[in-house]
């Protein structure tokens, strides 16, 4: 195994710059070595994964943090595209939304979200949430390898 594989790469899909800054602020203060990419809407998110648009090659994030209310293609559409794609479906998607409506929560899990979190109302709570997220998803959880999904896919399909 090379070090390369151990770099954690998070794709943050979020249109609100203030939210981006805040999330980065919280996450960079923590103990993991994380590389960040930011997509400002749903179209950019898919571009990032495919290496289209302003990206020259496909990104391979370990984890995707997805906001729901996005310009152009919204979070649900992104989720639906990711989870019905052979390549992308195994990337854990964590929905981070200000909506606590039952409808949003249910529909996201239905579309295949791996986790749904509601953005809390104050800084302390937000900080706590990001810490938990970090500890669990980056510390506890065993994540799939970033690259070489063709192998994973073929194992998964029993060839």
């Amino acid at each position: 195994m090379t070090d390369e594989i151990h770099i954690l790469h998070i794709l943050l899909v979020e249109d609100n710059e203030a939210d981006v800054d805040l999330t980065l602020e919280m996450l960079t203060s923590a103990k993991f070595d994380i590389k960040f990419s930011v997509a400002r809407d749903g179209v950019e998110a898919i571009d990032f994964l495919c290496g289209d648009g302003r990206w020259s090659e496909p990104g391979h994030p370990t984890l995707i943090l997805l906001d729901l209310n996005l310009p152009r293609r919204d979070g649900r559409q992104v989720l639906s595209i990711l989870k019905s794609d052979e390549q992308f479906r195994r990337i854990p998607v964590i929905v981070l939304s200000s909506s606590d409506s039952e409808k949003d929560i249910t529909s996201c899990y239905h579309l295949g979200a791996n986790c749904y979190l509601v953005k809390p109302g104050d800084l302390q709570a937000y900080r706590g949430l990001v810490r938990m997220l970090e500890d669990f998803w980056l510390g506890v959880v065993k994540l799939p390898r970033c690259e070489g999904h063709s192998i994973a896919t073929s194992i998964g399909y029993g060839h």
């Binding site: 609100n16 805040l22 209310n69 200000s98 104050d122 937000y126």
Partner: protein, 490 residues
């Protein structure tokens, strides 16, 4: 055994005892035989009648016609009814007239051709007919009677008014005259079906029926059909109601309630969008003010810290309001259909979730047996949560003592949540249920002032009502009603 009687005597007795008047006249109209009923009917003794002309029994006005009728009968003698289609009358000895029906039979005797008349007194029937006509006439609905062919035979005043025709214009005409052209073919079929299985019923259930007035305009109507057997055959009596006004009123009502529903839905949608979209910028204000305070922690003086605290506090309070508004706006859109649920379990779970508050305030909770009701579990829990939460929060000098119970009246249950708290002044009885209304200065009691507004909306969504009784400083009892589950008793 009775005496043997001659066959001639039997015939005489049969004639004599017949319930109809029986009279025989010769070719000249001279009376040769009458029975007891004829004597009764006309008020003459038979001695007074025998040998006299039948004309004495015919009203003056009809005598001339009667004579020529007799002549034509003699020319073509055959058994038939007299004067079909005309009203016949006999004249009594005292000059009064009696309505009769007469059957004529030619009889050949050794004395030549005779006419045997069977005369029935139809006074009773005439009276019944007249009563029927009066009832029909006085009926507030339009009444039209048609025969099997659909020919109009009777019309009352209201039907004249309804359709704009005088009755003379309608008698003898087809009912089609009053049926819109597009419906005529169907109408004929329906009439056939009705006559095949005649029973009193409404016409065209589920269809909109229209009648055509003389001026060509159409009016919406409702029609009740009644089959009637008459001596002239099977008839159909239709009771017709003009429903123009009712239709207009119900259409106006439907339009208004639809408008109301729409404007309610619009409002809810508005509240949802506003509260949802406000959350984002509010979070930003809160986060960054707090973040700023952290960054500048060592460089801020007390005054600046206080001001930052005000800003954060204000934003957080607004978050609470927006949250409340969001919850309020979701009551209808995210509510589930009510189903039978055990309210006791609902209350138990609410008490569990309030465990910390109950322990901290040393509250004593008395929960009486509670019924099965028809409700949305989550929403009913919300109502109890808000009421019990308030009862704990607004306690007086003593630690709170709260009683939860229910009693049934009719098809609904009245729940009560009783406390010994600070009470609510009667003058606020409406205000407490309004959104964002607080009766106490901020800081003394926590809350966003929306709990009771939500409780009220939930209760009303379930078809219930919420209210309270209170004595300031001694306590408050909130009541609310929820429909009982079908077939469930206490």
């Amino acid at each position: 055994m009775a005496h043997q009687i001659a066959s001639e005597e039997i015939i005489r007795l049969a004639v004599e005892l017949s319930p109809s008047g029986m009279m025989m006249t010769d070719a000249d109209g001279t009376i040769v035989l009458v029975n007891a009923e004829v004597e009764r009917l006309f008020g003459y003794t038979r001695e007074e009648l025998l040998g006299r002309s039948v004309d004495i029994l015919v009203p003056m006005s009809m005598r001339a016609a009667h004579e020529s009728d007799r002549a034509s009968f003699m020319a073509h003698p055959e058994a038939r009814r007299m004067g079909v289609g005309r009203d016949l009358y006999g004249m009594r000895k005292d000059g009064s007239k009696v309505p009769v029906e007469i059957g004529l039979n030619p009889i050949k005797t050794s004395d030549g051709l005779m006419i045997l008349s069977a005369i029935a007194d139809i006074t009773e029937r005439k009276l019944a007919d007249e009563r029927f006509r009066l009832v029909v006439e006085a009926c507030p609905s339009g009444m039209i009677m048609t025969n099997a062919d659909g020919t109009i035979v009777l019309v009352n005043a209201e039907a004249e008014r309804l359709f704009g025709y005088a009755r003379a214009e309608l008698y003898g005409r087809s009912i089609d005259l009053l049926v819109p052209a597009v419906a005529r073919a169907d109408h004929a079929n329906h009439r056939k079906k009705f006559l095949a299985r005649p029973e009193a019923r409404r016409m065209g259930i589920g269809r909109d029926l229209y009648g055509v007035r003389k001026n060509g305009t159409q009016i919406p109507i409702e029609i009740g059909l009644n089959p009637i057997h008459t001596s002239d055959g099977r008839m159909v009596l239709s009771a017709i109601t003009d429903i123009t006004e009712r239709k207009r009123a119900s259409e106006a009502l439907a339009a208004r309630s639809e408008e109301l529903l729409r404007s309610n839905a619009d409002l809810e949608q508005f509240a949802y969008v506003v509260s949802h979209d406000l959350q984002e910028p509010l979070r930003m204000v809160t986060y960054y003010t707090e973040l700023l305070a952290e960054y500048l922690k060592d460089r801020l003086d007390e005054k600046s810290k206080k001001y930052i605290h005000y800003a954060v506090d204000g934003a957080k309070r607004m978050q609470q309001l927006v949250k409340g508004l969001l919850a309020y706006s979701r009551i209808n859109s995210q509510g589930r259909s009510p189903m039978p649920i055990k309210s006791e379990i609902v209350v138990k779970s609410v008490l569990d979730s309030l465990k910390v508050a109950i322990e901290e305030s040393c509250a004593e909770i008395i929960c009486e047996p509670l019924p099965v009701v028809r409700a949305d579990t989550v929403q009913l829990a919300q109502v109890f949560q808000n009421l019990i939460g308030n009862a704990i929060k607004f306690h007086g000098r003593h630690s709170p003592c709260i009683r939860i119970g229910a009693k049934q009246n009719d098809k609904k249950w009245t729940f009560l949540v009783e406390d010994n708290g600070i009470g609510i002044d009667r003058q606020y009885s409406e205000r407490v249920f309004q959104m964002f209304q607080r009766l106490h200065e901020r800081g003394r009691y926590e809350g966003n002032g929306i709990g009771l507004a939500i409780a009220k909306k939930i209760v009303e969504r379930h078809g219930g009502r919420i209210w309270f009784d209170s004595e300031p400083q001694h306590g408050t009892t909130f009541y609310f009603t929820i429909p009982a589950a079908d077939g469930e008793n206490a």
